[in-house]
């Protein structure tokens, strides 16, 4: 099939190259690139520049774009999703595959998770069937959330954390997400469906920090304090991790809500032995 990937330069986009190798792949980037494994085209979903050309002949579109780090990321995400949805319909695309966020459907979702949910809705607005996969933290090299945790573990022998580090989450290995994303490509059973994708273990962020630290041979002291706002947390993360505060804040706000899979239909559709957390983290650390 002819597959076009928006967000191809991101962590997930890059991980998709191998699993989608059997397809004719067009990778979309905002700047010109010439890398092996795909045909690269220049387009910007946020402005609409080049989007129609990028979708020419496409049968399946992967939408892996987000605007985290931009002040009005919610508005930008809405506009970008609408643009791609409209142009995909015009181009006769058969399926849009979208990677959203676990926990986005629950009440009281953070602005970031709300935006993920709304992006999915906008992608479906022009009539092309959307397949949504929802994931919590993706354990892979370069994943913003994983790098944030890693930055904390590497830099701080003592961590003062908000009580939200005790929120349960279900991180998933980058390879497993890529497997699921590639598996729904052109799969009519998945048209118009949304699937929760979670790793094999449910844990708190605190447990995640402790396990990554153990893999690195560290044992940080973690002190939970009841009051630490997302704003203060993001400034702190900006100071001590490589992740920018504008990216960290929406992520931190999302920590308040549990991000676990509510259903397991994807495991029946695409059976897979899920990668244990420690193994996924080891790969990401390598």
């Amino acid at each position: 099939m002819n597959v076009t990937v928006f967000g191809a330069t991101g962590v997930v986009g890059r991980a998709l190259v191998d699993p989608l190798a059997e397809h004719e792949l067009t990778s979309v980037s905002r700047t010109a690139r010439d890398e092996p494994g795909a045909r690269w085209v220049v387009a910007d979903a946020a402005t609409g520049d080049g989007v129609a050309a990028a979708l020419e002949g496409a049968e399946v579109v992967y939408y892996l774009v987000h605007s985290l780090g931009v002040r009005d990321f919610e508005e930008q995400d809405r506009v970008a999703a609408e643009t791609v949805a409209r142009e995909a319909a015009n181009a006769g695309v058969e399926q849009i595959v979208y990677l959203g966020g676990l926990g986005a459907d629950g009440p009281g979702a953070s602005p970031h998770l709300r935006s993920r949910r709304e992006t999915g809705q906008r992608l479906a607005s022009a009539g092309v069937p959307v397949t949504t996969l929802r994931a919590a933290m993706i354990i892979g090299k370069g994943s913003a959330a994983f790098e944030t945790i890693l930055g904390l573990v590497k830099r701080l022998p003592v961590m003062v954390t908000p009580s939200w580090v005790s929120t349960p989450t279900q991180p998933i290995a980058l390879d497993d997400v890529a497997h699921y994303l590639a598996g729904v490509c052109g799969n009519e059973a998945a048209f118009g469906e949304a699937y929760d994708t979670g790793g094999p273990e449910v844990m708190t962020y605190r447990q995640m920090i402790e396990r990554i630290a153990a893999l690195l041979g560290r044992k940080p002291a973690i002190v939970e304090v009841p009051v630490l706002t997302p704003y203060l947390s993001s400034l702190w993360l900006n100071l001590v991790t490589p992740v920018n505060a504008s990216v960290a804040r929406p992520l931190v706000e999302g920590l308040r809500n549990p991000t676990i899979a509510r259903e397991e239909r994807i495991r029946k559709l695409l059976p897979l032995e899920l990668t244990p957390f420690d193994e996924a983290a080891r790969r990401a650390l390598a």
Binding site: G106, P107, S163, S166, P168, I260, R262, E263
Partner: protein, 171 residues
């Protein structure tokens, strides 16, 4: 959501049993490990929401704590026991201690089961020994904090929990 019922009684063992339930037209969670876990996670979310974060669940290792803002541990729980067989989906937490427990014992079970052509969602506390309740033979007023505080609080949280389950399904 119909069929709201709440009941509470003292068992022969001295433990308390409290049960709340509602009926819904379709399953709120899938009959799977994920579905059972969702019942539990949503319940702790309901506690957090109802108290506006003043009381929160905190998980570590094999179990959890219900903590008051400031750090006091109100209740401690064992790890969730998940079940999904024969239409019943449930998540049970053993009560292991905490300020509100006289001693370890009892459990909280969140369940979904078929009830005719509907589904029953329930919260059941069994064999719980509340520290704030009146002891056997003691004047009734000694249990006022439980009767007028903790017990209605628990019922209100259960209502919130049912609402959250329904809300997450509708969204």
């Amino acid at each position: 959501m119909t069929g709201w019922e709440t009941s509470e009684r003292v068992l022969e063992s001295g433990g308390f049993e409290s049960r709340q339930r509602v009926l819904v037209v379709e399953p709120m969670v899938e009959a799977s490990e994920a579905g059972a876990r969702t019942l539990g996670v949503t319940y702790w979310q309901a506690v957090d929401r109802f108290t506006r974060g003043v009381v929160r669940a905190s998980w570590r290792g094999g179990g959890g704590k219900l903590k008051l803002l400031g750090g006091a541990t109100l209740l401690t729980f064992g790890s969730p026991e998940l079940s999904f067989e024969g239409g019943l989906v449930s998540c049970r937490y053993a009560i292991e201690g905490g300020l509100l427990a006289l001693r370890a014992g009892g459990s909280v079970t969140l369940a979904q089961r078929p009830e005719g052509d509907q589904q029953e969602l329930s919260v059941t506390v069994e064999e719980y020994l509340p520290r704030l309740a009146a002891r056997a033979g003691a004047p009734l007023w000694t249990g006022m904090l439980y009767a007028k505080g903790q017990s209605p609080f628990h019922v209100a949280v259960s209502r919130r929990y049912f609402g959250l389950l329904l809300g997450s399904r509708d969204s």
